[in-house]
Symmetry: C2
Subunit: 267 residues, 2 copies
């Protein structure tokens, strides 16, 4: 059951939303076709905010435009598009990622584990991770630092995800190793998509190092980006993610011993 995942690893310039969208479009146009296209966290605005107020301001100004851009791309090319954006609703502001399918937003995931100063800029996500149908595949979303919490990929996979779209703004390499574990422990495909470029503002100076990767349920790295701007596609076999048997006698979900896992939910 063949399925094509596209990766967009852009350079993002903080605050230059129009310019970012142009660069993104150029990368998108370089790809021929895909079933699911994954872009980084906070794709349109950049990452380092000065304050919660600034994040709200960006949400107010650019949220609709960001979602519209995703709808347009997914409508024009067909298939699904996942990208991170600043979500502003009812006085709250979230580090979110939307999923647009065939021209329409089908879901918005709000990052539930905020990293470092994001805790000052954003509200923590308030909804459980979920899965959306994108053509033949069931797709779940997690964002960047969610990698540190195996609970997220596990929930998405239990909910039926074949592919986990993982928009990120990563600096260190730990997540790439951890996401290999997420892939095999859930027998899912994982697409971690990072940005490149530098945010140097508000007392922080962060250079994002790319390295976007797609990992198979067998822990194979099917795609590995360099440290510059790039776009690429990988064909995957969805049936690999549907068969949850690790051996003839081991089913990775049926083997779970939930009656012995109660400690996981204790405060």
């Amino acid at each position: 059951m063949s399925y094509r995942i596209g990766v967009i690893q852009p350079n993002i310039v903080f605050g230059d939303v129009e310019g970012n969208m142009e660069r993104l479009l150029k990368l998108v146009n370089a790809l021929r076709e895909w079933d699911l296209l994954v872009l980084p966290e906070l794709t349109f605005t950049g990452y380092v905010f000065e304050s919660r107020e600034e994040a709200i301001e960006y949400g107010k100004r650019y949220m609709d435009e960001s979602l519209k851009w995703m709808e347009n791309i997914s409508g024009e090319y067909g298939g699904g598009v996942v990208a991170g954006f600043v979500e502003h609703v009812h006085g709250k502001v979230f580090n979110s990622a939307a999923i647009a399918v065939d021209g329409e937003i089908k879901g918005v995931y709000r990052k539930i584990h905020l990293f470092y100063k994001e805790k000052e800029w954003f509200d923590p996500g308030d909804k459980e991770p979920f899965v959306v149908d994108v053509g033949k595949a069931r797709v779940g979303i997690m964002i960047c630092y969610d990698w540190m919490f195996p609970e997220v990929a596990r929930i998405l996979s239990l909910e039926g995800a074949d592919v986990i779209a993982h928009p990120a703004n990563l600096v260190y390499g730990y997540a790439y190793t951890a996401m290999k574990a997420r892939a095999i422990e859930n027998l899912v495909y994982v697409a971690t998509v990072n940005r490149v470029g530098r945010d140097n503002r508000a007392g922080m100076d962060i250079t994002f190092k790319g390295g976007s990767q797609i990992v198979s349920p067998k822990m194979e790295v099917l795609y590995r980006a360099g440290d510059g701007e790039e776009a690429g596609v990988v064909d995957i076999d969805l049936s690999l993610a549907r068969d949850k048997r690790y051996t003839k006698l081991n089913h990775v979900f049926k083997d779970r011993r939930i009656e012995l896992y109660k400690r996981l939910l204790k405060p």
Copy 2:
């Protein structure tokens, strides 16, 4: 807070319990001192059983001797010893690992995720993972294929483990990558200890490839064994595992969103 972990990576000959104990002792004697010594899964007997009946037979014949050996080593040298053995109690037979501290068995962990034919040979463990004090460290135990289930290392870490002792009989390399994830996602030390040698019987022919590793909470590989018999020690700093802050603003346990994790325990 310095602490020394010892690794024994033996060649094990199926059924030659006396010979295995001699070889183990030789490896143990090659080490000077340790606070915690970790040996492989099913250290004394070997791995491939012909049947449940045979596993029971080995449990009946060698369980007491195996536990006594561990008590002796931990009593004579001081510190803790973790090793896998066949546990036979009340007509049940488990793939277990005991922890002996200063001459006394302090706990027995029964593997809760059985791999492949182990399901024919053993009963699945019936108790939650737990943690035992071994000198200055709190030590949790998981066995081999438990690596596939992030729930186990998470529970042990939530229970306060500084070090996860992970006796194994591994053939593939996936677990080594996954255990790096376990280390960082819980900010614990992980000692995965494998055997070498070959079990060729009962229609199975398995060569165990060693490669035992100790990983730090920073995902550094502090010890990596070769593919032959060996013993080694590593000094670790327990304070690294006690500080669960990943950044000044991120605490790996307090950041968990258990109210959004309910799916983990749903059938």
